[in-house]
Amino acid sequence: MSANAPDPATAGEADSGLNVAELPGGARAAIEAVLMVIDQPATAVELAAGLNLTVDAVEQLLAELQREYNGYTVNAPDSDVATVINTVGHKSRPRGFELRNIAGGWRIYSRADFADVVGGFVLEGQTARLTQAALETLAVIAYRQPVSRARVSAIRGVNVDSVVRTLMQRGLIEDSGTDPESGAVLYRTTSYFLERMGIGSVAELPQLSPHLPGLEGIEEFYDAGRM
């Protein structure tokens, strides 16, 4: 999932009636909703455009959310939930996540204090090998790059979303922009992939049999069906 900011020029028109302040939780919650699911950091300008708010308002809300997540704002004990474990004054405690501004973009991360716990959780069950599904997907991307997930799915006959995420995480493939027609994200292999393969460029990959179908015949169910 990649974070693509709505084009400020069109976002205003499309959402002309949108007033996030009227939604439950208001503009704060709207910003949270976006921050929780975007993969790439979003700038205050992008957020403002997407939410139909001024940049100033967004920056103020971001700062407030950041403080709130850090457990700074509230000290009032919370009597409603006093019966539940760990609750006394929990509203004033830091949350397990934090809002960070890195190179101008905002994103939610897990809180650094929990790095050990989270790291252990993440590492469990990880293997040093790629699964067969991941290898095949990587092979398709290597020979058909740049290519969208939808096309790789169509070639492999199965959904490849989670495998593509694994390959990204492993640094073997990367985002190479979007398809001008469908808007789908395109993927290509990385220099780390070349390094692991021991070759200098993808041109050095062994030739495939010329009879293999290219991408022309591949059903583009995703792109075509996308609303």
């Binding site: 993440v122 040093a128 095949e136 092979a139 070639i155 995480q169 990959l205 062994p206």
Partner: protein
């Protein structure tokens, strides 16, 4: 969840197939509707049938299928006239249902009588089966509507599935990579090769159906007819457990007729065919049959 209480209304944008231009030959003039048009309009013969039934506001359980039969047939005919290309299996489904509907309609034109012979029973079975299939399809169509609305509702919340933070990604064990470029290419070759279609499930079992021997059937017919009474063909095949047996008995009769073991009597064109035994008791044996039916694979 709108579908729950809506009787028979086809879900979503594919509302009433009967209202579609294709049902009216004039509407189709000028441009020929393509394959998609048909698929968009309705998703199969049951869909069409349900649409027609709902158009007449009939209760599916009591529906007089005769009233929708004409429209069903007309619809198919129009599609054909418009030059629709039919996939053979799809067309056959439509035709099977059209034929069943026609049968049922024909039965209604006759004076209502007692259920007497096998044909009446078969007709009743055909009707019940059609109803059952229609009801079943209707049920699935309803839950398809529910699934659709649930999917649409759920598509409004997005899961958090973000890339792993870099410091965690750095903790991942170093990738074990043992593929040479050649092996990797082989992998790509295999992945890119067009997939063999999954094994076809088109029923082939009937091709290996138990072999039916014309000779055996002739023996059975001989025993039935040698009892003395003439029998109708219908009676002679009354106990046939498959069409194959019916065919074998028919062939056997032709053989026996040629051997002058039997004679036929038919009072009216298309009337009952009566078979008499004409040979002497021991003048005929199934051994007389030609060999040509025996070399069955």
């Amino acid at each position: 969840m709108a579908l729950a209480g809506t009787p028979l209304a086809p879900a979503g944008p594919h509302a009433d197939p009967a209202e579609l231009p294709a049902a009216d030959p004039l509407a189709g003039s000028g441009k020929k509707p393509g394959f998609e048009v048909r698929l968009v309009n309705f998703t199969g013969p049951f869909d069409l049938l349900l649409g027609l039934i709902s158009k007449h506001q009939l209760d599916i359980t009591e529906v007089a299928l005769a009233t929708v039969t004409d429209e069903f047939i007309k619809y198919i005919r129009n599609l054909q006239q418009l030059g629709e290309e039919w996939a053979l299996d799809e067309a056959s489904e439509f035709l099977v249902i059209a034929a069943t509907l026609l049968d049922l309609k024909a039965a209604r034109l006759l004076p209502a009588g007692e259920v007497e012979d096998d044909e009446d029973v078969a007709l009743l079975e055909a009707r019940d089966l059609l109803f059952a299939r229609l009801l079943q399809y209707k049920a699935f169509k309803q839950v398809a509507g529910l699934i659709n609305s649930t999917l649409e509702l759920e598509a409004r919340s997005f899961p958090r599935q973000v890339a792993l933070e870099e410091h965690f990604a750095a903790l991942l064990p170093e990738l074990v990579w043992r593929h040479t470029p050649g092996q990797f290419a082989a992998l790509a070759e295999a992945a890119l090769k067009p997939k063999e279609a999954a094994p076809s499930e088109v029923g082939l079992a009937h091709l290996h159906g138990s072999a039916v021997s014309v000779k055996e059937q002739a023996e059975i017919l001989g025993l039935m007819l040698q009892a003395g009474r003439p029998l109708s063909f219908r009676a002679l095949i009354a106990d046939a457990e498959s069409t194959l047996v019916v065919v074998a008995r028919f062939l056997a009769l032709l053989e026996m007729f040629r051997d002058k073991a039997v004679a036929f009597d038919q009072l009216l064109p298309l009337g009952d065919l009566t078979v008499h035994w004409t040979a002497g008791r021991d003048d005929w044996s199934s051994e007389n049959l030609t060999e040509e039916y025996e070399e069955q694979p």
